[in-house]
């Protein structure tokens, strides 16, 4: 079905569609995580509140425009559509997280740093290329760090342990598959 959603009532502005669930109590809730390179290329996006595809690209365009143009030494927060975006630059990458107005911006900076440190340990001095070719790994790590936009683990060691346990499971499955296909290949020879 096509057509615009319209609403003309009760003095509530019509941007309800752009903005997803808004928590009045200002509880710590990251709405989305965004990694953008200095050239404006998206390296990772994770949405914890529902946004349509169209809204997502709009958000990315708007934010990368603002963030990439901010000078150095300015504060790491921007106010955007009634939300706050906390960003931090690491080498050529900007890590951005969007939170509610009332949330603790300084803590989000720590969460970003926490994530970067874990990535760094996992890849061994991580660089942008690692995150491009192993983007799925970056996602896996993020999923061990945040669920529903909330932090789940404050120990870097535990995150690393859980990730490597899962990587091993994948490796084991691969080996098994190749040994089976070897057996099949030999049997059919």
């Amino acid at each position: 079905m096509c057509g615009k959603l319209m609403s003309l009532e009760m003095g509530r502005p019509n941007y309800a569609l752009e903005i997803a669930t808004h928590n009045d109590f200002g509880c710590m809730n990251i709405h989305f995580v965004l990694l953008v390179s200095r050239q404006g290329k998206v390296r990772l996006t994770k949405w914890y509140s529902p946004y349509t595809q169209k809204e997502r690209s709009k958000v990315i365009r708007e934010l990368s425009g603002v963030i990439l143009n901010r000078g150095p030494k300015l504060c790491n927060f921007i106010e955007w559509r009634g939300y706050k975006v906390v960003y931090k630059r690491y080498a050529s990458l900007y890590f951005c997280m969007c939170i509610d107005e009332a949330d603790n911006e300084l803590e989000v900076l720590e969460i970003i740093h926490h994530y970067v440190e874990i990535l760094d340990r996992y890849f061994g001095s991580v660089c942008e290329l690692d995150l491009i070719f192993n983007f799925h790994k970056a996602y896996y790590i993020l999923d061990e760090l945040l669920i529903a936009g909330e932090l789940q683990e404050s120990s870097k060691k535990i995150v690393a342990r859980i990730i490597s346990a899962q990587d091993q499971l994948v490796e084991a499955a691969k080996e098994e598959a190749s040994s089976i296909s070897n057996i099949i290949a030999q049997a059919t020879k």
């Binding site: 509530r12 300015l74 106010e79 603790n104 900076l109 720590e110 983007f135 120990s155 899962q166």
Partner: protein
Amino acid sequence: MNPFSSGTRLRDMIRSIRACKTAAEERGVVRKECADIRASINENDPHDRHRNLAKLMFIHMLGYPTHFGQMECLKLIASPGFPEKRIGYLGLMLLLDERQEVLMLVTNSLKQDLNHTNQYVVGLALCALGNICSAEMARDLAPEVERLIQFRDPNIRKKAALCSTRIVRKVPDLAENFVNAASSLLKEKHHGVLITGVQLCYELCTINDEALEFFRKKCTEGLIKTLRDITNSSYQPEYDVAGITDPFLHIRLLKLLRVLGHGDADASDLMTDILAQVATKTESNKNAGNAVLYECVETIMAIEDTSSLRVLAINILGRFLSNRDNNIRYVALNMLMKAIAFDDQAVQRHRVTILECVKDPDASIRKRALELVSLLVNENNVKQLTKELIDYLEISDEDFKEDLSAKICSIVEKFSPEKLWYIDQMLKVLSEAGKFVKDDVWHALIVVISNASDLHGYTVRALYKAVLTYSEQETLVRVAIWCIGEYGDLLVNNVGMLGIEDPITVTECDAVDVIEDAITRHNSDMTTKAMALVALLKLSSRFPSTSERIKDIIVKQKGSLLLEMQQRAIEFNSIVDRHKNIRSSLVERMPVLDEATFNVRRAGSLPASVSTMAKPSVSIPNGVAAAPVVDLLDLDSDDILAPPSSSGADFLQDLLGVDLGSSSAQSGATQAPKAGTDLLMDILSIGTPSPAQNSTSSIDLLSTADVNSNPSFALETLSSPAPPHIATTASAGGMFDLLDGLSPSPSKEATNGPAYPPIVAYESSSLKIEFSFSKTPGNPQTTNVQATFINLSPNTFTDFVFQAAVPKFLQLHLDPASSNTLQASGNITQNLRVTNSQHGKKSLVMRMRIGYKVNGKDVLEEGQINNFPRGL
């Protein structure tokens, strides 16, 4: 591997995409890859699925459509191996969101995986559920998640806890099921589990009052102990961040204590000691420590009054404010805004520092500081603060001027001690940042000027001087033109000199120069030019010596490419030329604009028709001058074309919207019985510049009559200002005709249109919507729908908003609902008007979305209505 699949490896694809030099080239590569993936999907080979999905995720990240891969995610999740499931769940979270119906198909797989024997598979399922579950899935899977909170492995417990926060956010009714499990998590030693457990408790407390009471009674002391232990703990390398042991846990504990202490003196009392300890002992030279302090201050300010702690908190904020780190200063400004509520004096002490922050190079800090300054303003310091801000306005960045000038205007309007000061400050703002000032601000200024009769002379002279220097500030020019037009004689004769003024000599010619300038300057917009024409017309009568020159200027505008300008020029020319005898009364000074009405209109709290009906004496001035005055008021006639229902339109326009209606009605009325004179017709027609306006205004008239459902009242108010030339009875007859023919009468409706049965448009566990239908006779395309919202739950819904969308062949108009609060088992109604351009071919469909708050929590319901009766 299928030897015939032409697919490349993921790594190769990324490489070839990165090698692209142009966007077109990249699109080409992606298109080819997508085609390959589609082909591979159609072959349905399980070996390629893994790789296809990984590629699709990369393509998705670049912003290309990838919906065709959604089903592949589901297949991978359903397959037995861990690697397939891992990538499948990742794809699910990336490519889908909770609004897609495909997601429902995954519920069953999720249920199985939540019961899987491999804990990592359970972890994957919990993670996916926590990130994208919808309300329906939350309901279906809540029991599984609840059970997993008690799982033996801490990795699963923490995931289940966060998954539960999402579930209770989506379905607040489920909160009570989780209370016990959540409280058991608070006793954990594992930091991850503790962090997520505290988060879950926090969530439950904010959703459910009983849960809050429960945790307050049972857990406050335990939490305080946990916080004390963690604060006093020795160095733990695993959790240490810049000398603080697990700042994340600190922050979550402080946050939970905040809700427990808020509104409860006993609980607040218990936590005083530990809060004081955190506030004094936390290292503040690194970000992690400051994050903890920030949270601690926030908690101190939210819990019940413990004034010694608050002094401590304000001191911390003072330290933050003088920090060199911009981040810290930013949060300090933010927190001081909250601190004003309980200690205005303490915040006032930092006023100088805060004012400095308004001038910071960082836009975020400037914005915060400006907000804070506007909260600090009171009657005593308004003059000083305004002066500071206006001084800064002169040198500030262009892109900050808009915010800054808006703030200054609102401060000045709110706290101005006297009119003279107000006018002075506004003139300064308009001179410095006139092009950024919003319409309602300069409209308000005009209203104030019009009311300050003793300052007319002073104002017009000050404006004259300002406009000579700042002629590029559009709104300044507009106000100046308006004032010169109205009070030109005071300008020239130095009438009403104030002691503070230096006398100036302005000739009649100079005054006309200014206005001619505004008309001829190429970058003036149409509103300014149109206002300038009106001002000239007024001056032509006030300054007889310039009459010929003004006539020339007006004649020149007859050739304007702008229809509005051309029309005004022709009309005004004919007034100047042919109707000298009535000109002076036509261009009389505007009656004083009513401030109260303007403020009401500006706030937009009343529908247009009601307020103007209530104050006809204001909107329709006396005597022959009625129509022209209406027109002179018409500053923004181009905007009038907008439908009258676009509320929030400003006072002047609204005045006009209805006034035009009355004048056109009068002209219509006089035409029928041929009672009025031609001259009068001529004057009246000025009030109705274009046919389009005419039609909107008659609609307006109609709706006015509708609202009153008493034509004689409308008649009375409309005909009372009618010029004595018109026989009142004649126009009355005309009015009756007019109204009779147009207004819908309910009795006809009942007999004419076929009856449509009401339908239940939507029903959920908490809400039912019924639609009843009626048609307006003679207009089969349009259906009036009365929607009735019935609350089936025991809770009150607040901020209730109904939104609807229709396909292009339909047009939808929503009236405001009868209320935005829906009492338990109560109901409210809202009228909708749907126009079906394909009437008889297609029937109505509608998609709708309802948002409201229950116990402060947002709830969203959506649905599609397909069961409209046929033939609507």
